[in-house]
C-alpha cells in the first residue's frame, strides 16, 4: 500500500507537469487559469471526501467554510484600517508588523492587513466556527445532519448578503495579490494573483497545494485515525464498543475538512482578485457533494480526479446555461446507478451482461 500511494502521488506530480506541457503544445496557455482554479476546488472536494466517505458525515454547508476563508482574507487585505489607526487593536497589529501601508488610486493613505496574517485569520476563523458548529451538529445523523449543515451554509450566505462590510451582493473585489516569497536573486517574487506573468507559477503552486493536501489526507487515511474513521463509517456502535472516541474523531475530521475548504477559499480569492456571495450559495455546497459522490465516497483519488476534471469543464463553460442542471443530473444518476462512484463501475462485466446476457 505504501509504495502504491507513493506511485500515485508521483503520478499526480507527473500529470501536473504533463498538463502544463499539453497547454504549451496546444498553444493555449489560458487553460492554465482554469486548471489553477480547478485545483483549488479540488482541495475542497478531497477534504469533504474524507468527511463524507471515511467519517460518514454529510455536509451540505461546505461552501460556507470556503466563503469564510475567502471573505475573511479578502476583507482584511482590502478594507482600509487607516481611519481606526489610533485604536488599540490596529496599533497592536501594527506593532506586530502585520499591517501593510499603501495608496489607493486617488493617492489616499491605505492601511490593510498583510495577506499572510489575513490568510491565517481566515483559516483560524473557519476552524473555530467548525469547532463551535461541529460539537452540536455532529451529534445529529441522517436528515437532521443534512438539514443542519444546509442551514449553516444558508446562514453564512444570508450574513454575507446582508452585511455592508462584506460588500453585500457585490462581494469584495480588488483583492491584492498574495506575495508568498519575496524576490530572491534572479528569481522573481512568488505571488498568488491572476496576472499573466504569474500564470505558470500559480498553476504549479495550486497543484502543489493540492498534491500536499492529498498526501496529508492519504497518510491520515492509512494511519490509526484513518482506521478508526473507517470503523466509524461501517458501524458507530461497534467502533464505540472497541474504544474509539467517535465524537472526537468526527469533530477532528469536520474541522480538518473545513480548514481545507478555507485554505482553498483564501488562496483562490487572492488568485481571482475577489469573491462574490455566490461562492457561499447552497448550490455550491451541493456541487461539492455531487463531485465527491461522482468520484466515490471512499475513493480519494476518484474524488480528486472527477472533482478537478468536472470543475475544469464547468469553469470552461462547457455546460453553458445548464451548469447547475448538469450537476443535479450527475448527482441523481450516480446515486441511482453507481452509489460507490463512477470509477467503481465494472464496465466489462456490465457490458458482457448487456450484450451477451450472461449472469451478473
Amino acid at each position: 500500500m505504501l509504495t502504491r500511494k507513493n506511485y500515485s502521488l508521483a503520478g499526480l506530480c507527473l500529470a501536473t507537469v504533463g498538463l502544463h506541457l499539453l497547454t504549451v503544445l496546444a498553444d493555449a496557455p489560458f487553460y492554465l487559469t482554469q486548471l489553477t482554479m480547478a485545483a483549488y476546488y479540488g482541495l475542497v472536494i478531497i477534504g469533504l471526501g474524507v468527511l463524507m466517505g471515511y467519517a460518514g458525515q454529510i455536509s451540505i454547508g461546505h461552501a460556507g467554510f470556503f466563503a469564510i476563508g475567502g471573505y475573511v482574507s479578502a476583507a482584511l487585505t482590502t478594507r482600509n484600517l487607516a481611519p481606526f489607526e489610533a485604536s488599540w487593536p490596529v496599533r497592536l497589529l501594527d506593532g506586530l508588523g502585520l499591517l501593510v501601508p499603501g495608496q489607493d488610486v486617488y493617492g489616499a493613505h491605505l492601511l490593510t492587513v498583510s495577506p499572510w496574517a489575513a490568510c491565517g485569520c481566515a483559516v483560524t476563523a473557519a476552524a473555530v466556527i467548525a469547532l463551535i458548529i461541529g460539537v452540536p451538529v455532529l451529534k445529529l445523523k441522517g436528515h437532521y445532519l443534512a438539514m443542519a449543515t444546509l442551514g449553516f451554509g444558508t446562514i453564512i450566505y444570508r450574513i454575507l448578503l446582508a452585511s455592508p462590510y462584506f460588500g453585500e451582493a457585490d462581494g469584495i473585489s480588488e483583492t491584492p495579490g498574495f506575495t508568498l516569497l519575496p524576490a530572491l536573486g534572479s528569481w522573481g517574487p512568488l505571488v498568488i494573483s491572476g496576472d499573466v506573468e504569474h500564470r505558470v507559477a500559480n498553476f504549479y503552486l495550486a497543484w502543489g497545494v493540492l498534491i500536499v493536501g492529498a498526501w496529508l489526507l492519504l497518510n491520515l487515511i492509512g494511519s490509526r485515525v484513518g482506521r478508526a474513521l473507517r470503523s466509524l463509517h461501517s458501524s458507530e456502535e461497534a467502533a464505540e464498543a472497541s474504544g474509539v472516541d467517535t465524537a472526537r474523531f468526527k469533530l477532528q475530521v469536520f474541522i480538518l475538512s473545513a480548514v481545507y475548504a478555507a485554505v482553498a477559499g483564501a488562496l483562490l480569492t487572492h488568485f481571482n482578485g475577489g469573491i462574490g456571495p455566490s461562492e457561499a450559495s447552497v448550490m455550491k455546497s451541493v456541487r461539492y457533494v455531487a463531485l465527491v459522490a461522482v468520484g466515490g465516497m471512499t475513493n480519494l483519488w476518484g474524488a480528486l480526479i472527477m472533482g478537478v476534471g468536472l470543475t475544469f469543464l464547468s469553469l470552461r463553460g462547457v455546460f453553458g446555461a445548464f451548469d447547475d442542471a448538469v450537476f443535479g443530473l450527475i448527482l441523481i444518476f450516480v446515486m441511482l446507478f453507481a452509489p460507490d462512484g463512477i470509477l467503481s463501475l465494472r464496465l466489462k462485466p456490465l457490458l458482457r451482461r448487456m450484450f451477451l446476457g450472461g449472469p451478473s
Partner: protein, 296 residues
C-alpha cells in the same frame, strides 16, 4: 408597539405560518410513508404557483389552480416511480442526495421554462389594495383565502387519514410496513400515493400564496427549509403539532422584523431550526421517550 401594529404583525405571522404548516405537513406525509425527508418539497410549492400562472390565460382561475394541482401531483408520482420506487433498501445518505438532485432538476427546469422573472397569480378577490377592517386592523382578503385554504386542507387530510380506506391503509404502512404488507396492503403504491398527496397540497398552497408572496423559480428552497423547521419544531411526523409550530414560527418571523433588518429574516428561522435540532430534536410537542426509538 401600538396595539393595532401588534395585531397587524400577528395576522401577517399567522398567514405565513399557515403556509409553513402546509409545507411541513407535506414533509410529514412522505416521512411517515417512507422515513425519508423529501428535499424537493419546496419545489412542489413553486411548481404549483408557476403552472397555475401559465395556465391562467386559457381558463378561469379555479380551473387553472385545479389543473396545476393535478399536474404537480402527476409530477410527484412520476418522481417517486422514476427515482425512488425501484431502489432496494437504499441508505439514508443516498436518498438524501437523490432528493436534493431532484430539487435541483426541478428548479433548473423551472428556470429554463419560466425564466428568472418574478410572477404571481392575481388576487382571488379584489386587488392589492382591497382590505376589510376588523376593528382598526386592515386585512387583505387573500389572507383569509390562505388561512381558509390551509384550514380546509388540514381538515380534509385528517378526515382522509381517519375515515377513508386508503387513508387508513396509508397510516397502517406508516405504523408498521411489514405488518401492513402481511395484511395485503400494497405498500409501494402507498408510497407513490404519499408523494402525490404531498405534491398536491404543496401545489395548492403554492397557488393560494402566490398573490401575496410571488413565485420565482428558486422560491422553493427557503420554503423547504422553513417547512422543515416547522416539521422539526412540531416533531417529525406529527401533523397537528406542525400547525401549531407553523403559526408559532410565522409569528416569530413577523415580529422579528421590528427588531432586526429584513435581510436577516431567513437567518432567524434557520437559527431557530439549528437550536431546536441541538436542544430538542424530537420537537416541542414530541416526547423524548418516543424519540429515542427513532433514528436521529
Amino acid at each position: 408597539m401600538s396595539l393595532d401594529l401588534f395585531f397587524q404583525y400577528l395576522f401577517a405571522g399567522i398567514t405565513y405560518g399557515a403556509i409553513y404548516a402546509v409545507v411541513a405537513i407535506g414533509f410529514n406525509i412522505i416521512y411517515n410513508a417512507t422515513g425519508i425527508i423529501n428535499f424537493a418539497q419546496g419545489e412542489f410549492v413553486m411548481l404549483g404557483g408557476m403552472i397555475s400562472i401559465s395556465l391562467l390565460p386559457f381558463m378561469p382561475l379555479w380551473c387553472a389552480i385545479a389543473a396545476a394541482t393535478a399536474l404537480t401531483m402527476l409530477i410527484g408520482a412520476a418522481i417517486e416511480m422514476l427515482f425512488i420506487r425501484w431502489l432496494q433498501s437504499p441508505s439514508v445518505l443516498r436518498l438524501i442526495i437523490i432528493t436534493i438532485g431532484i430539487s435541483i432538476l426541478l428548479r433548473e427546469s423551472a428556470l429554463h421554462i419560466w425564466g428568472e422573472s418574478i410572477r404571481s397569480l392575481p388576487y382571488f378577490y379584489g386587488n392589492e389594495i382591497t382590505t376589510f377592517s376588523v376593528g382598526s386592523v386592515h386585512i387583505s382578503p387573500q389572507v383569509v383565502w390562505v388561512i381558509a385554504a390551509s384550514g380546509v386542507m388540514m381538515g380534509g387530510l385528517s378526515l382522509f387519514f381517519k375515515s377513508t380506506p386508503i387513508g387508513r391503509e396509508m397510516r397502517a404502512c406508516a405504523a408498521n410496513r411489514t405488518a401492513a404488507l402481511l395484511c395485503g396492503i400494497n405498500a409501494r403504491n402507498m408510497v407513490t400515493l404519499s408523494f402525490m398527496l404531498s405534491a398536491g397540497i404543496g401545489a395548492l398552497a403554492g397557488c393560494v400564496m402566490s398573490p401575496i408572496t410571488y413565485t420565482q423559480y428558486d422560491s422553493g428552497t427557503s420554503l423547504a427549509i422553513k417547512g422543515f423547521t416547522v416539521a422539526i419544531l412540531g416533531g417529525l411526523g406529527n401533523s397537528m403539532a406542525a400547525v401549531a409550530a407553523g403559526i408559532l414560527l410565522g409569528i416569530i418571523e413577523a415580529f422579528s422584523v421590528s427588531v432586526v433588518p429584513l435581510a436577516f429574516q431567513d437567518a432567524i428561522s434557520i437559527a431557530i431550526l439549528l437550536i431546536i435540532l441541538f436542544v430538542k430534536p424530537h420537537g416541542l410537542f414530541g416526547s423524548s421517550e418516543a424519540a429515542r426509538l427513532k433514528d436521529f
